[in-house]
């Protein structure tokens, strides 16, 4: 692998690159992956391939006449030039804007966005001074997203990590299939929020709609207002001191701390009565074999 240069790789087909890097010689039977941390590893804070951007280097893009693809490509180009703060003007409800950014960046969107805004992020801090459509921040790995107004349904769908914050209210199925990270809603959230949630935290400062936390596998939901109804296997749990400290810090950080503190929040967790996968597995194996 060390003997192949990037220039040589560039000339190869994908199949040739895979072979040249020795990736097809590995035996994939049994447990082949065994990796140990290097305690003397170098201190690095960004991915080896990530552009070295400077937050103080700022630029703007007027997206009015641009397609979504053009906007997203332009963001990549500017990051490669070292711009660490990028302002998008006139987004005019474009879908899939600012997706797939895999490095640190301050992205400011002045206006409202359509579906799947700023999804698949890994690192950036995003501020949207408007509204967003469905699935904002879906599949985010890390970073922060702050929405100043309201958001549509499936807000933070399959979120993996990072903080996704909406100052206003959000639609239904917030945090559906959430696998990590934190979703904070300043207002209310709709029905089936936290549906099939697996990990992470949802904080709703206002009210929650029907079937909150339905079929949740794990994770935690905090609600400051009323809960219309709990979903299947969602149960109330005791708010601990660590929870209170975490809620206070997180809500203060995003300027959403209620005047009366956090003691009134209700904590919802999984009852774990739906953990029946192990019971089904033997039957599934019989069917397959």
């Amino acid at each position: 692998m060390a003997g192949v240069t990037d220039a040589q790789l560039k000339e190869m087909s994908q199949e040739e690159r895979v072979k040249a890097l020795g990736m097809t010689t590995e035996q994939l039977t049994g447990k082949s992956l065994y990796i140990e941390f290097d305690p003397d590893a170098e201190e690095r804070f960004i991915y080896p391939w990530a552009p070295d951007v400077d937050f103080n280097k700022r630029t703007e893009i007027d997206t009015d006449e641009m397609s979504t693809t053009q906007v997203n490509t332009r963001i990549s180009e500017l990051m490669a030039e070292g711009f660490g703060t990028i302002v998008l003007k006139n987004p005019r409800g474009k879908h899939s804007i600012g997706v797939g950014i895999l490095s640190k960046l301050n992205l400011i969107i002045e206006g409202s966005c359509g579906y799947f805004a700023v999804g698949l992020l890994d690192g950036p801090n995003v501020r949207i001074n408007g509204r967003v459509g469905w699935s904002c921040g879906e599949n985010m790995m890390s970073g922060t997203i702050m929405i100043e107004k309201n958001a549509g349904s499936t807000f933070g769908a399959a979120l993996r990590g990072g903080d996704l914050v909406c100052r206003g209210s959000v639609g239904s199925r917030t945090g559906i299939d959430q696998k990590g990270g934190t979703i904070i809603v300043g207002g209310d959230t709709g029905a089936l929020s936290g549906f099939m949630m697996q990990r992470g935290r949802i904080v709703v400062c206002g009210n929650a709609g029907k079937n909150l936390g339905d079929s949740m596998y794990d994770g935690t939901i905090f609600v400051g207002g009323d809960i219309q109804s709990l979903g299947v296997d969602a149960v109330e749990a005791e708010l601990t001191d660590l929870d209170r400290a975490w809620l206070t810090r997180k809500l203060t950080q995003y300027d959403l701390m209620p005047g009366r503190g956090v003691d009134h929040f209700t904590k919802i967790v999984a009852g774990k009565q739906l953990w029946n996968y192990d019971n089904l597995e033997p039957n599934e194996k019989k069917l397959i074999l």
């Binding site: 990796i35 305690p39 890390s142 990072g162 749990a237 975490w246 810090r249 967790v269 033997p282």
Partner: protein, 137 residues
């Protein structure tokens, strides 16, 4: 309390799964030979009094006020060895024997976070080779 007790085994001690490599407590777990559920408290929120200097620098570099995605990173166990789950490779990365483990989960989680960042950002991470093989030039 959520996260410390499951339908399967119960986490009673920070070294439980190191002292008992199998870690299978319930009858059902013994029957199927597999652990049910996570082997650590996935709902444990970090204690920010225990941040390491490296993690503080990481937060500063990324422009974050807190640990962000690292709040979900904990030290778990694989086959009786301390390990951290790396979502980028969908596998466990083991803690070397040379690293002494603190006596509490919060400090262990901080070590896990630091090691995971150093690993993910290094050239020896499998994604580096994958990227070279499959990236669009």
């Amino acid at each position: 309390m959520a996260g410390t007790q499951y339908r399967g085994s119960e986490i009673k001690d920070v070294d439980q799964f190191l002292n008992d490599a199998e870690g299978l407590d319930s009858e059902r777990e013994k029957e199927i030979g597999q652990h049910i559920g996570y082997r650590y408290d996935v709902n444990l929120v970090p204690d920010y009094e225990r941040l390491t200097p490296f993690l503080k620098k990481y937060m500063e570099t990324m422009g974050w006020d807190d640990l962000n995605w690292l709040e979900d990173i904990h030290m778990g166990y694989e086959e009786g060895n301390p390990a951290v789950f790396d979502r980028n490779i969908n596998g466990w990365v083991r803690i070397p024997d040379t690293i002494e483990l603190p006596d509490n989960q919060q400090d262990r989680d901080m070590i896990a976070r630091e090691l995971l960042i150093k690993f993910q950002m290094s050239d020896r991470h499998p994604l580096v080779a994958l990227r070279k093989a499959y990236m669009k030039f």
